[in-house]
Subunit: 391 residues, 2 copies
Amino acid sequence: MISSHIKEKLQSGSLIRKMFEEGNKRKAIYGAENVFDFSIGNPDLEPPKEVKDALKAIVEEDVPGGHGYMSNSGYEATRAAIAKKRSEESSVTVDAGAVCMTVGAAAAMNDVFHSILDQGDEVILLAPFFMEYNNYIDNHGGVPVIVQTDDKFMPDVDAIIAAVTPKTKAIVINSPNNPSGVVYSEELLKSLNAALLKCDHVIHVISDEPYIELAYDGIKVPSALDCFDNLIICYSWSKALSLPGERIGYTLVSPKHADYEDLTAAIVLSNRTLGSVNAPAIWQKVVERALYAKVDVPNYEHRRNLLYANIVESGFEAVKPNGALYIFMKTPNGLSDSEFGEICAKHNLLLVPGASFSRPGYCRLAFCVSEQTIINSRKAFEAVAAELGLK
Amino acid sequence: MISSHIKEKLQSGSLIRKMFEEGNKRKAIYGAENVFDFSIGNPDLEPPKEVKDALKAIVEEDVPGGHGYMSNSGYEATRAAIAKKRSEESSVTVDAGAVCMTVGAAAAMNDVFHSILDQGDEVILLAPFFMEYNNYIDNHGGVPVIVQTDDKFMPDVDAIIAAVTPKTKAIVINSPNNPSGVVYSEELLKSLNAALLKCDHVIHVISDEPYIELAYDGIKVPSALDCFDNLIICYSWSKALSLPGERIGYTLVSPKHADYEDLTAAIVLSNRTLGSVNAPAIWQKVVERALYAKVDVPNYEHRRNLLYANIVESGFEAVKPNGALYIFMKTPNGLSDSEFGEICAKHNLLLVPGASFSRPGYCRLAFCVSEQTIINSRKAFEAVAAELGLK
């Protein structure tokens, strides 16, 4: 009585959610302080003061009609403020018409795929990637085409172009990357753009950007607007302002996009008909007022340093991430993801297998957990390393 | 570069939205007080005091993690409170597991259709109906099958059963109805349920209930839980609490549903993967605290009375609605929707043609506009009636 495609997905389930539940079970048995759950990327920092002040002020002002419908694309003032900020941060001038407010980046991506995909159209994904992309593409009749990145998780432009077929409709870029935390350089992105523009038809570049505010080591994440022509940005404040439960984000189409007019209209239509109708009114107003605020990024950087030290000093291998909330660690001794995961779980160390991100031989650790948990986990890393004879 | 199905929809556009823009244009020319825009169902009453108090209290309490992720189905406490209320209002006992919090009823319906429809599956719609149903069904590969109601807009059980085929997956019930405002009786709904249960396969009954709190003349809207077995409720607080811009609602699967376990899991999965991820955290908490509150329903009833009087006393025909926010008026003198619409527009009277609800020969008027607008519009109704020689 349920659809066949959902039946399949129900059977496979979301591994990350399963890990989350496993973590809760283990916490109940061993005590929360003895379980090191690095499996879920739930930002644990509080929203910055600017967000809380804006929320309080908006509630107190209590403007009549403030909870009513607005245009499906969102409040004009919010969209204009975003366009202004994006214009300041790049060499491209964007106006409010480019922006559609969405229920977070997940809804943004569904809106975009619904707008561009016909049955059987292909979307290139660069592995490792956030596994929900598979669902977002499949929801709208598309087919993911996976291209592996190199051993530093950097995209290979030639490999991407080799994967292009007449059915290729789009490519997804996610930098800082989930799960690897790497940041792609401006040079790399510009060379990818040049290569895509040489293809026989337009290929949309979908830049999924929930982590662009979370960069470390003084690195500046290049503006996708500077790098790509046929660009659609999917943004979320879930991580930048620690508001993942509130569902607020946007799409932004580059004014350089070859199909700007139809595409901006199509995304607004999809936003309406896929059921969001519009992004939550109150959060549109909050993000407008707190647009230049950020969560405590140095705190995340500090925790990345601690977790990275745990990993490499215990004898494991990982590329040091320059952004996002994750370290993508190599499984040692040629162990499979599941063999390694089981050994880690015995020591109450919970990770997500790399296969979930279409990159077996690795596992993902999220460092948006308390500093104390990271510090306490050191003994678990060392115990696993000892069991495997790494040191 | 956009998908072919979206291209088609962009060309047809949303007529209601177009009327809305036409209304704004006319207001700029003739002055807001001289334009009688009954085209859009944007609830203009403020949310009740309980909602505003709850919102303020939640913001002031500022519980740590209050804006973070929760289960994709929503907060357990909110879902339990809804289940308790629904159990009190019917003879069926519901628990929290039946409920999934959603981004309003539109997202709820998309979640449900995504969960149940395979390509080519049919969904029975009772005309007149909210035209967005067509999109919600089409989004997930389904095909709407339209069955007309009688001249009082009441469903005909035999006609519905005659439309059932092996591909029929569901039927949508919307009472109080948009656009007719009629309320279906418990007897009618129970006879429909009995007939559906005699079919060769399970047919989901999707009860779209944004208007169940808005009933007039002392009428009690029957609980769908009492009437149907294979029931999925799609609820929204957009109208009951005047929060349409905030996007908060839920799905509820009857414990009597033949596929309860799979279906509740499928809906949560769809809620995640279609991009809502979860309903906005703050609004889940607000509706939990203000669950028994309602907007000023007598105010809407008063305006319905005024608008209905304008219509029938000017010489037009309409079934008096017992609920929702609309009057579905017959076009006079056998005029087509568009002929009549043009005459009305000349007098700055803006309505939505019945064809938009798959019921030509009628037009919809929304009475969620100010009392003064309704009073002022009397002269426009009389002018149109005079032009058409109705009196």
